[in-house]
Point group: C2
Chain length 235, copies 2
């Protein structure tokens, strides 16, 4: 398949992944190197599905990925946005559960997987590394709890403003210092902000009319960061 003929430089990918693990011993590095595989995913392709069993630690080396859960009424809820270089699906791996969300590539992406047993073997003998991971999972639990409160208590405008700020902080801005460096559909934006697509479109138009943002298709320019933050804070 053409997607596999796309040439991935596994060595540089591996180096990138290792950068996320400080103080890895040479033998641990070697184990990882021998148990890593790479895969290419095109925009829109599913990396794994909610309910699948994890077979290793998945690392996003290139591209952007959304993680979403199917909601009660079939409406999806985006629970995380991943950027390179970073891990996805680790929660399920560490909890020894199946994936609780689906991972879908938002752009053409490169993903590599460190085989489960090899990786867990390293953890079992490296308390410092495990403690580092514990720290980031604990941090993420904080984000998640916070998100529960804001998504349930803020009004539509506050939720959307928060999402835009979140996207800006996660993916950064283009060279113009204004355009958010990720191009989501209005539907994705809605699923991230817990609202219907119609309301995302409407509210976005509202922000544009007020001069807080500027819209150009999927490009969103933040014109007034301060005001956007105020909208987010007020709820």
């Amino acid at each position: 398949m053409s997607r596999n003929s796309y040439n991935i430089d596994i060595e540089s990918v591996f180096e990138g992944v290792c950068g996320l693990f400080p103080n890895l011993k040479p033998e641990e590095r070697e184990i990882m190197r021998n148990n890593i595989t790479c895969q290419y995913f095109r925009k829109g392709e599913i990396i794994y599905k909610e309910g699948d069993t994890p077979h290793g630690l998945v690392c996003l080396s290139k591209g952007k990925v959304k993680l979403y859960k199917e909601g009660v009424g079939g409406r999806d809820q985006i629970v995380r946005m991943a950027k390179p270089i970073g891990f996805i699906g680790y929660r399920a791996l560490f909890a020894e559960e199946n994936y609780s969300a689906t991972a879908e590539a938002l752009e053409d992406s490169v993903v590599c997987i460190i085989e489960k047993n090899a990786f867990m073997g390293i953890l079992r003998n490296n308390a410092e590394l495990t403690l580092n991971i514990l720290k980031s999972v604990a941090t993420e639990l904080g984000f998640s709890t916070n998100r529960t409160v804001t998504l349930t208590q803020k009004h539509i405008r506050g939720r959307l403003a928060e999402s835009l700020i979140f996207l800006r902080d996660t993916y950064g801005l283009e060279d113009d210092g204004k355009t958010i460096k990720v191009y989501l559909s209005r539907e994705d934006l809605a699923n991230l902000s817990n609202m219907t697509t119609s309301n995302a479109i409407r509210t976005l138009s509202g922000f544009a009319e007020e001069g807080v943002i500027e819209l150009d298709g999927r490009r969103i320019k933040i014109l007034d960061h301060h005001r956007l933050e105020r909208i987010s804070d007020l709820g």
Copy 2:
């Protein structure tokens, strides 16, 4: 103070806490024993506040505790209900952050604290233990994400039904096999289910009229578990 003259058997409390750590080495056990302190909290008292700095691993040995965050409009959101024997506030400890929620005793409670540095020192030398903790924090992150989806997407009846089931599963039932073994105010029930107190009261009355539950002050008897679960699942 009379609350402190209340006699706590620290040895048995310590044994209880140790039961949560399987395979603790004798020297680790000794460190813990030398760095543990106990405290008694009466119903309604605050164990720690959102924003406080953790000084150790807090363990609830006796009683019941609610953990809540202050929401945007001043409305509280209960993010966790703790029961003995179990830990509270560990997320902040492991994330090296301040507490992200307030812990308040729902009944007279006994709490003990293992000093931070002593405990973290044990973790740094015990990968297996750290991995166990990582597993539970990862599991909890799953719960939290799930909760975000249900709290935002389910309707009032579904959310309240889910909370009742959650309370039943967390605290169990009285000997009659029906009464939920925790007695919350309508306001707490509302803050747990993301709704106003009025709506908690109204919806609860509705369930009682339909014969799904029976109310007697704060006592809630579940008459039809199956139907309650159906209400929760339908959203």
